[in-house]
């Protein structure tokens, strides 16, 4: 047997071992990583799941395990008892604030995404200022906004000072997401639209926005969820009326019943409904497109 034959048979042996390993058991690293990941998921969702479970106790229920009975008592309590706080009012404010923040974030992020494609004077400075606001401690930033408002002699409120403070948090996120989205946008599409006779507005409406739509929905989701559960920046800027996270926080100080947990469950459900609605909308758009394709 020549040297090359030897090398060849060695290759064959090695590849059969590899095949056996692939078909049979997995390597030990798989089990280590799987265990690690399971722990991670448990740590991520465990605490929240505890809250959801405990919110379904009956009237004898307390703030800690073990679970006592099963009912919707504390949900009922949440919406009927006045002592639990202004849940409805704060929820209402939080949703309105989140909608305003979302709209502003989407519009401003979209426009800066378009603007940052070109170099302009001070673009790096603007970019780093934006990132700076992302890393600045939220509580301090909130206090600062509150200070400026009182210095200007304006009464802080959830729809002015808190709106501004929240935007300082959602805009950098929105713009960064937009940058990622824009990196796959080809400027030549706009040029092609212009070549075909589209006005700048038609180009935005018929080409740029439809192509960027999934990214814009992502920015909107970011804006909404970041605003909906924002606490640190809102604390000193919301004025006399609380948003939902502030209300929950104040409830933790004086409410000692599982209705606090039911509130957690309800707000989570709201979040998931909104996210679900957005994803559903995307799915629907895609289905419509596919159907139009099929019917045509």
């Amino acid at each position: 047997m020549s040297a090359s034959d030897n090398a060849l048979s060695g290759e064959v042996v090695r590849s059969t071992t590899a095949r056996r390993r692939r078909r049979g058991g997995r390597s030990w690293t798989f089990y280590v990583l799987a265990a690690l990941f399971s722990l991670y998921v448990l740590a991520l969702y465990g605490p929240m799941i505890c809250i959801y479970i405990l919110s379904f106790q009956d009237v004898r229920g307390g703030l800690v395990f073990p679970m006592k009975g099963f009912s919707l008592h504390w949900f009922n309590d949440l919406f009927t008892q006045v002592r639990t706080g202004d849940v409805k009012g704060s929820f209402d404010r939080s949703i309105r604030l989140a909608v305003m923040v979302t709209v502003l974030t989407v519009v401003i992020s979209f426009m800066s995404g378009l603007a940052f494609r070109k170099r302009f004077v001070g673009d790096t400075v603007v970019f780093y200022l934006m990132i700076g606001s992302l890393v600045a401690p939220g509580l301090v930033l909130g206090i600062g906004v509150g200070l400026i408002w009182s210095w200007l002699g304006i009464e802080p409120s959830w729809y002015t000072s808190a709106l501004g403070a929240q935007l300082s948090w959602t805009l950098p996120f929105g713009v960064l997401v937009m940058f990622a989205v824009m990196s796959r946008f080809q400027n030549v599409w706009e040029e092609a639209a212009r070549d075909l006779g589209a006005t700048p507005m038609q180009t935005i409406r018929l080409v740029v926005i439809p192509i960027l739509a999934p990214g814009l929905i992502a920015v909107a989701l970011f804006g909404f969820t970041l605003s909906y559960d924002e606490f640190a920046r809102t604390l000193q800027t919301a004025g006399s009326l609380n948003t939902l996270p502030l209300e929950i926080w104040s409830m933790t100080l004086n409410v000692t019943s599982p209705s606090l947990y039911s509130l957690g469950t309800v707000t989570t459900i709201v979040s998931f409904v909104i996210i679900g609605a957005c994803l559903g909308a995307i799915a629907l758009i895609q289905k419509r497109r596919a159907e139009r394709v099929a019917h045509d």
Binding site: Q186, V188, W189, E191, D195, G197, T199, V207, I211
Partner: protein, 368 residues
Amino acid sequence: MAITNGSIELAGVVKTYDGSATRAVDGVNLKIPDGAYVCFLGPSGCGKTTILRMIAGHEDPTDGEIMIGGENVVGLTPSERRTAMMFQSYALFPHLNVRDNIAFALRVRGMGSAERRKAADAMIEKVRLTELADRLPGQLSGGQQQRVALARAAITSPKVLLLDEPLSALDEQLRVQMRQELCRMQRDLGITFIHVTHTQMEAIAIADMVVVMEKGQIKQAGPARDVYDQPQDRYVAEFLGGQNVLRGKVEKIEGDQAIVVSPEMRDVAVPVGARRGLVPGAEIDFAVRRDDVELTRPERHHAAGRAALATRVRGVEYQGNFVKVLLDHVGGDQLVAYVPDRVFYSDPLAIGDVVMAGWHTEKARMLA
């Protein structure tokens, strides 16, 4: 102002970019007749795409005039110019299907949905994409995408269609096929096509008129055969290929021939042609087509009216219908002969063989 024909005239067109001292386009003058198929040919950065974009109305010249159908179009939009462009990567809108892509220009002009659908479907049939009309661009092959791009550009019946490296995204086989498709479309539409490419084979295969560019300037413009067969200078000859470009010194002038010498060449006669006023001692370039070079064994006597130089075979490449024989360098230029394969194999040469490379004197061409 309505542009009714696709003749183009560039007059003293200059383009400079901010912060750059060099001129991307440096004083270009050119007349293109209506309905011509023109190829701008040159290496990347020679300004050919810039010229295309200025004709298209995507960039404004720094100086000079661009006339389409006799009207100065500088400052007009692409649709006012009646031009349409096919972009290098096609730039099809990824969210619109083939039909909506093609109908886009009609949509932005406010045409009703039923009407534009009818027009788009007619165009789709013309480019033979009927069964793909509802696909999205991402679901099409490169060749199909190109046909969509062509249809999208042609739907407004432009007078000039501008194609920026239209075949560069395709593989070799498809490229040759699409070349014919472009020619067919151009004949069908009967409009001016301006095609930018860096591939000389592509240019000479399809163009009525080839414009060779270098560093923002036109080096030579004319019918493909003229540019290939009668290059005006070393740059054009080397870029189009198929030529040996040799350099030597004029020893003396004998009638309408210059006798050229160099360390490797002895008494090579070159017709003076258009270069009158040559004086002995001048350094000149001349070109001989590679397929005009004949290789003979040195013992054979060489006839009068022929130029010849002794050289050695350095390499042999079989090319199918001919054999490319690489010979010694003459000065800085490698001498190459294309020998028909039947001729070559009747007396095959081996690497290292000493041969005489000869050509009929009148086949040599003086370069500027």
